[in-house]
């Protein structure tokens, strides 16, 4: 127990440092804008008075160090600034768009893992067979497909031609939950398939690593059934790299969601970021970057903690 507590504390310390750096990087990114961000945001028609007013509103008048202190203080108070174009707090803008992104990411990862684990394990067990070769080839191809393009192709076939799924949108707030989820099927499948490629490759490689180990041979020699050997002995020991890559995939899914949400017109965080970028709504870009990176750091933390649960030998 003390071991877990020590590891937890050590990782929490590391996480705090990384989060502090993430905050600084986000702050710097928006400030590297050549010229005046307020002038860029308002466009060429803006008067000097408008620009000055926006500069004050965004706190750009203050010295950099004061701006940074205010930014950090705001984060602690849950205040990520005000969206200029949406005329609402950034936290509200993010919160109202979190649902589609959350479910899209969740379904995509479920689809990716649902495909990758069985296929990767089977491919390793049947190494060198036609099945294995097909899997290796398909994962290579899937990893080369832009998820937004796959999404468009799926949309063309299953939404436009066959009419099985809605082509875009997410429905309004009054739309029943299940119907809203119906809108997520095609984007989740597109993202899930592309992300399953990496997880499948890692599962296969990780299983191949352990299948030749002594304890697996011993288990076989003792007459344990194939399923028991694979699932209980091999998979359990192959899980660490697989968990790592699943954690990594979640971050990649968020990146994929940015483009996929735009393709399918889903009102999620990805879509919010893209429109914020096109309108140069810096507070929104800043807030979204911060929240997404913080989620990623948290996921990494959880993955590290899972290591200890999966493999008691792991020392963090």
């Amino acid at each position: 127990m003390a071991r877990i507590a020590r590891a937890l504390l050590k990782r929490l310390g590391g996480m705090a440092i990384v989060l502090a750096l993430v905050v600084t990087v986000v702050f710097v990114i928006v400030r590297v804008t050549p010229g005046d961000p307020a002038a860029v945001m308002l466009g060429s028609d803006a008067t000097p008075a408008d620009i000055a007013q926006l500069r004050t509103k965004m706190g750009l008048d203050a010295p950099l160090i004061t701006q940074y202190a205010q930014f950090v203080l705001g984060i602690f108070k849950g205040d990520l600034g005000q969206s200029i174009f949406l005329n609402q707090p950034v936290t509200t803008a993010l919160a109202t768009r979190a649902e589609p992104t959350f479910f899209l990411t969740l379904f995509s990862i479920l689809i990716a893992v649902g495909i990758a684990l069985p296929v990767g394990i089977l491919s390793a067990v049947k190494r060198g067979t036609i099945f294995d070769q097909i899997v290796v080839t398909l994962t290579m191809v899937a990893a080369s497909v832009p998820s937004f393009w796959l999404g468009l192709m799926l949309m063309q076939v299953f939404a436009v031609s066959m009419g099985w799924f809605p082509a875009s949108g997410y429905g309004g707030p009054d739309t029943p939950f299940l119907e809203r989820l119906h809108h997520l099927v095609l984007p989740a499948v597109a993202l899930g398939i592309v992300n399953s490629a990496l997880i499948t490759r890692f599962t296969r490689a990780s299983m191949l690593d352990v299948l030749g180990d002594d304890y697996v041979r011993t288990a076989k020699a003792k007459g344990a059934g194939a399923a028991r050997v694979i699932l209980k002995h091999a998979l359990k020991n192959a899980m660490i790299p697989i968990i790592t890559v699943i954690g990594l995939s979640i971050a990649m899914l968020v990146a994929g969601a940015v483009v996929t949400e735009t393709v399918f017109g889903l009102p999620g965080i990805g879509n919010l970021v893209v429109s914020a970028v096109l309108r140069r709504d810096y507070p929104v870009i800043q807030g979204a970057l911060l929240v997404v990176a913080a989620i990623y750091v948290l996921i990494n933390f959880v993955v590290d903690m899972l290591y200890i649960l999966v493999d008691p030998r792991v020392r963090l």
């Binding site: 750096l21 393009w149 968020v254 893209v274």
Partner: protein, 287 residues
Amino acid sequence: MTTMASVSMPFAAKLRRLFGNRAMLLGAIILAVVVLAALLAPWIAPYAPNKLSIVNKLKPPSGTNWFGTDEFGRDILSRAIFAGRISLLVSLGVVCLSTVIGVFLGVIAGFFRSLDAPISRLLDAMMSFPDILLAIALVAALGPSLTTVILALGITYAPRLARIIRGSTLVLRELPYIEAAVAMGLPTWQILLRHVLLNLASPILVQATFVFASAMLAEASLSFLGVGVSTDMPTWGTMLASGREYMNNAPWLMLFPGLAIVFSVLSLQLLGDGLRDLVDPRLAKEN
């Protein structure tokens, strides 16, 4: 490990492995075709990429327009060939920039113990941002242009390279010949340049290939979103973005630029995998 394997394998054996790896060879051939097509675009493209022909708009693939035409009657094949130039140029720029930054940070972090922790934490922080998200935020801050897209993606991918190079440098640092060089009092820069960097060539090459593939996908995504390179020349991403509107009646607008991306990225993945197997035979056994 990687570097040791690459050093100890005789050249002839390397060559045999190189040509014995059919997947890698296929990747190299596809990539060569894409690169040659891009380089020779003005001579091999059947039409000028921006030549309008309204009477021929949205024509399906035929003998005169192999990949069909777009909403302005422009030849898709010619545009796809020219678009390869931008994609390759951006990806190459990204590879060069991220390699320079990544190798510098990776070697420094791996070689100097006191700098390892701060650099590694910074890399952790940079890698907490999903690639596209960080890139579009940087493009938003810097403004969309060829240079800023290369800069944004270069900064995005540098930490990925740095982390790998740091790991390889950590291994190298402990090897007897580096210790001997330090003991002999060789200047640090000389050790880094002549002994460390030279032995990192293989992992750098392998990772650079994968960064090339990722950069190509990212550039296509940025162009598709309208925050990529702003130029008169088409890119695969902008071709997909403008073709979307006509997708229902003219699916070829989406099919061919998409396939161009898939084949180019696939060729780099095959090449990267093959190179990795070549420099690290332990991994080859697993495939």
